[in-house]
Amino acid sequence: MWSKGKGKKRSLTQINDNSDEVDLFSKLTTKDKDDSDMEGGSSSDSTDSEESEYSGLEDEEDDSSEPESFEEMCDSGEEEGSDVVGTSDNDNEKMRNDVQKFKKNLANEKAKHDGENSVQMKVKKKAGSIKRKSGETVNGKEEAASTSTEVTVNVPDEYEYDSSDEEDLRNTVGNIPMEWYREYEHIGYNLEGKKIIKPPTGDELDNFLNKMDNPDYWRTVVDKTTGQKVVLSEKDCEIIKRFRQGKYIDSKFDPYEPWIDFFTYEKMQHPVTNRPADKRSFVPSKWERIKVSRMVHAIKMGWMKPQQEKRKEEDQPKFYMLWNNDEQVNIGLTISDITRKYRSHIPAPKLQLPGHEESYNPPPEYLLTEEEELAWKNKDPEDRRLNFLPKTYSSLRQVPGYNELIKERFERCLDLYLCPRKQKLRMNVDPEDLLPKLPKPKDLQPFPTTQSIVSTFIEQLSHSYGLKVYKGHDNIVRCISVESNGQWIVSGSDDQTLKFWEVATGRCMKTLPVGGVVKSVAWNPNSMLCLVAATVGNDVIIINPGLGDKLVLSNTDNLIESYVPTEAKDTAKVQWEKYSGEEEEKGFRLKITHFKAVGHVTWHGRGDYMAVVVPGGESKSVVIHQLSRRRSQNPFSKSKGLVQCVLFHPSRPFFFVATQRYVRVYNLLKQELTKKLLTNVKWVSSMAVHPGGDNLIIGSYDCRLSWFDLDLSTKPYQTLRHHKKAIRQVCYHKKYPLFASSSDDGTVIICHGRVYNDLLQNPLIVPVKVLRGHTIENSIGVLASEFHPTQPWIFSSGADHTIRLFT
């Protein structure tokens, strides 16, 4: 190995000797020169680069791991490779110059270089073996020892000439174009500072002769720095030749040597341990079995449902929506709907991109005029559309620093910090949609819409037979009642009269003075009887008005006459009295005197019983009279409150008693309380029962009208607050699905209230018409209203002394 390396070195130096004239090498990397310097043994052994190289080798030696050292070797190989390519052209010359100086060290020097070169060659071939390497390191050690000795000798001289590691020290002008010395006879300066005189150049003739005579002329080149002629050796020519051909310079180098794969790329698997497999690895797990059996049991019992096999998605080609935005793509196919629901990603709010206004040189239409600028300045910062004033600059350079930057960044951070993390599901509901769909009033006709007949206080004078006065009431008309056929109505007033009217013409047929304020009046609902009950003071007066069918009138009178007194005692403290004489002629029939003032009176549907409210009667505040037997009774032994009004159920033996806040429903047969309706109002004023008997409306002094579905609940099914003032009376129509409420605000409101036979369908309540016409006097408006029994007409009476018919 050694011999081999040495031989090689020798040959190299030989080449170098001959290659002085080749400019090609001078152009090669500067490193070569440096190396050649060192090689030349010009006491440059301990230059930095050399040192590092050695240290690298030493490190390599210390390091036990192979790959690293291999890398090192590769590195150094590269360096040396270049060295090899451009081995310094003037090895021999240097030696010639400095041979006396470094005679002592020459041998060592050579040895070192040889070692180096041998390593380099080996690495370059990439065929170096570990063995060789070890040899090399041995060599390196020797070398180190030798250099240390060398340093001790050459310390003072080292920096004198070796100031630069790149210069060719034969000529100290450095790496300059040599043309600069063209005018001069010297070509530079040597180390001593003496001019290097250009060698004499022959003229054309000499050259020609030279060319002709000198067989080596073709391989003679001029060294630029020294101007000497150098004849290239055979070796050099060979190198140049190979170089030009693009081959490896060393003809012995074989790039296709077989590759020894020390570190295979294949992954190998080896068992970690050699232990035999556990028993549990092939015996089924006990715990798993228990778990599975539990699951099987659960599936059997239906507690758990076996997971359905997911369809293999591989079969189906995967598509994705190309035009979706990123979020949709992300969410769309990969995440299931449930997870999307819980972690729907909310992107951070984006900053608005700068527009033309933000430009340093915006188009003139974006610049604000003076007025706009003034307006901008006067506005609050929050109200400004732009938070800056667009300004124009001739160049971007002149744009000043933006003093709002910190603030804006801060606000941006705030925005990001405060931006919602969770999607809030806001109910985006149009309030109109929440309202129930009610039919249009137009579709719910017929209902009363216009005022048709007004009975007012007009005196009419007749010519021939003196004075006859047919007039309306001249005081508040408190109550009205319509005959069951709808031909007549009766009205009671504060002017202490009862008046009977013909519906078709509005003619007052009869006026009966009763000697007191008429509180309530009720026409007997039995069409076979013609009787009117009116409450005046402590009395209930029963009147036969003498209107209508004569047969009915006589029947009525017969019924009253046919009374045979019995011994039965009345529970109520009332007194029955029969009119006679002149008053009987007028139509008065019976008078029932109570112990206190009576209020509301109502008939039972068959017309025999009559219920009267005695407002101050405490426990006897409700009295029920029987007409045929002239008996009276107090159905209640205890006072439940201030009774406002009472009502008989139209078809069943129920009795409604309205106190201030509650409506109690009694079963008259069983004599028990059936139901107690919670009205939720402050003070009930009146009530009316639907002719079907399952629905009830109440009006209250606190402006509310409540509809009760008796089958549904004891609470109001619906409460209407259409009136602005107290409701005085409510009423149902007997045939049409209408109900009405009359109020102190001077209006009567007609509502459509359809009750369905289907129990599941709730009543349909639609307010359809506000009837105005009554004027308010002393803050009392309409006191009473009642529907015509057969027509969609309503009568109303009020504090303005009139009775009005709306049709």
Binding site: S452, S462, S464, Y465, T505, Q791
Partner: protein, 429 residues
């Protein structure tokens, strides 16, 4: 005649005029002339053509021209390109108020025959007036307000006139009034209704009459008076003694037929022919009854309470007054399709009473609770021909049985007489 020159910047139309009244026939054409001036132009035409001044009314497509032609064409959507056919008729002169007959109480019923006017009053009396406005006789006989009256027209020469009255006292009374002696006999008392008798109607042959009542019944009675009445009792032979004073002795009469079917009271009845009766009721229907078979034939359904109906003797159309502001025109012969042919709207309150002209094909009068009697033309639905004011209260009854007199009785205790001279009718007859 040449069309006058008018401004150019207003639409022009071409019109063709014609008339059905031969004595007014003038042949003339009007070229393209200005629409807004058309009415004025037309006013000139008669003056130019005849020495005598005649006022005209114009009909476009069978409808009266009530405002300017331009507005009319705009409202009807008639193109100005078409040639307009305009019929012209002589304008009816306005009815003139002639007299006001004052009663003691509301006048609920009125009917005229020849020179005599019969009124029923709320003071339970029936009055006979002559056309001069002189009260001939006051007949107390009913026990309650008289709601309806009807003459029985049999022999015009006979001085003994007969009439029927119905009342709230549930009876209809058949009367004989001796014109010469000015004495009145109650011939028969027709009992049977169980409600107020609201309407009576005498059949064309004057042998029967029908009465409608609040008790929903329609009853048909014999109108033949006196001796030949088989139902009358022993007192039947002495008609002159049957005075109103001895009401108990008035022979009672039972109905020939009772027709039931209405759900509510009958408010008006009339005979379509000898065998057909038409009734209007509070149950929103108009029913036609076949008297011979004694059953109800057809029904016209309405939406409002009917107060009165009237049949034109000339064109057999029916107008009905109902409990709203409108008067509706029906054809009793059709029962299907759009029942209401025309709706006349001008009144402001319930229309209580209505009556066709007996001589004019298109005209009728109506009385309303707004106190105005209106003369209508069938061809003018939006506006009446004339409003006749005078009543201070509701009008309860109107009558136009005698073509010269329009009568209206009302709640102001008076009967108003309007004199009406129909030249065209005179000319035609």
């Amino acid at each position: 005649m040449a069309a006058p020159m008018f401004h150019e910047n207003v639409p022009h139309i071409q019109a063709k005029f014609y008339t059905s009244q031969q004595q007014l026939l003038i042949i003339f054409t009007v070229g393209r002339c200005q629409v807004s001036q058309m009415r004025d132009l037309l006013m000139y035409v008669p003056e130019a053509s005849e020495s005598q001044h005649v006022a005209f009314d114009f009909l476009v497509d069978g409808e009266f021209l009530r405002n300017s032609l331009q507005l009319h064409m705009e409202s009807k959507g008639i193109s100005t390109e078409t040639v307009l056919n305009i019929e012209y008729v002589e304008r009816h002169p306005a009815p003139e108020p002639e007299d006001s007959l004052v009663h003691d109480d509301w006048v609920a019923a009125v009917e005229a025959m020849q020179d005599y006017i019969l009124t029923g009053c709320y003071d339970n009396t029936v009055r006979v007036w002559n056309s001069e406005g002189k009260l001939l006789i006051t007949i107390p006989g009913h026990g309650a307000a008289v709601k309806c009256v009807a003459w029985i027209r049999n022999d015009e020469e006979n001085p003994v006139k007969q009439f029927v009255t119905g009342s709230h006292d549930e009876t209809a009374l058949l009367w004989q009034w001796n014109q010469e002696k000015n004495s009145v006999d109650c011939v028969h008392s027709c009992h049977g209704h169980a409600g107020s008798v609201d309407c009576v109607a005498v059949d064309p042959s004057s042998t029967r009459f029908c009465s409608g009542s609040w008790d929903k019944m329609l009853k048909i009675w014999s109108a033949v008076s006196g001796v030949d009445d088989q139902d009358s009792e022993d007192v039947g032979e002495k008609p002159h003694k049957r005075k109103k004073t001895d009401g108990n002795k008035i022979p009672a009469r039972v109905p020939l037929m009772t027709l039931s079917g209405h759900q509510e009271g009958i408010s008006s009845a009339l005979w379509l022919s000898d065998t057909e009766i038409c009734t209007a009721s509070w149950d929103h229907t108009i029913r036609i009854w076949d008297v011979e078979q004694g059953m109800h034939k057809s029904t016209l359904m309405g939406t409002k309470v009917y107060f009165d109906i009237s049949l034109s003797p000339i064109n057999n159309l029916l107008v009905a007054a109902s409990a709203d502001r409108h008067i509706r025109l029906y054809d009793p012969r059709t029962t299907d399709g759009a029942v209401v042919k025309v709706t006349f709207t001008s009144h402001t309150a319930w229309v209580s009473s209505i009556q066709w002209s007996t001589t004019h094909e298109h005209q009728f009068i109506s009385g309303s609770y707004d106190g105005v009697m209106k003369l209508w033309d069938k061809r003018s639905a939006k506006a009446p021909l004339y409003d006749m004011q005078g009543h201070e209260e509701k009008i309860l009854a109107v009558d136009w049985s005698v073509p010269q007199y329009m009568l209206s009785g009302g709640a102001d205790n008076s009967l108003k007489i309007f004199k009406y001279t129909d030249k065209s009718v005179e000319g035609m007859h």
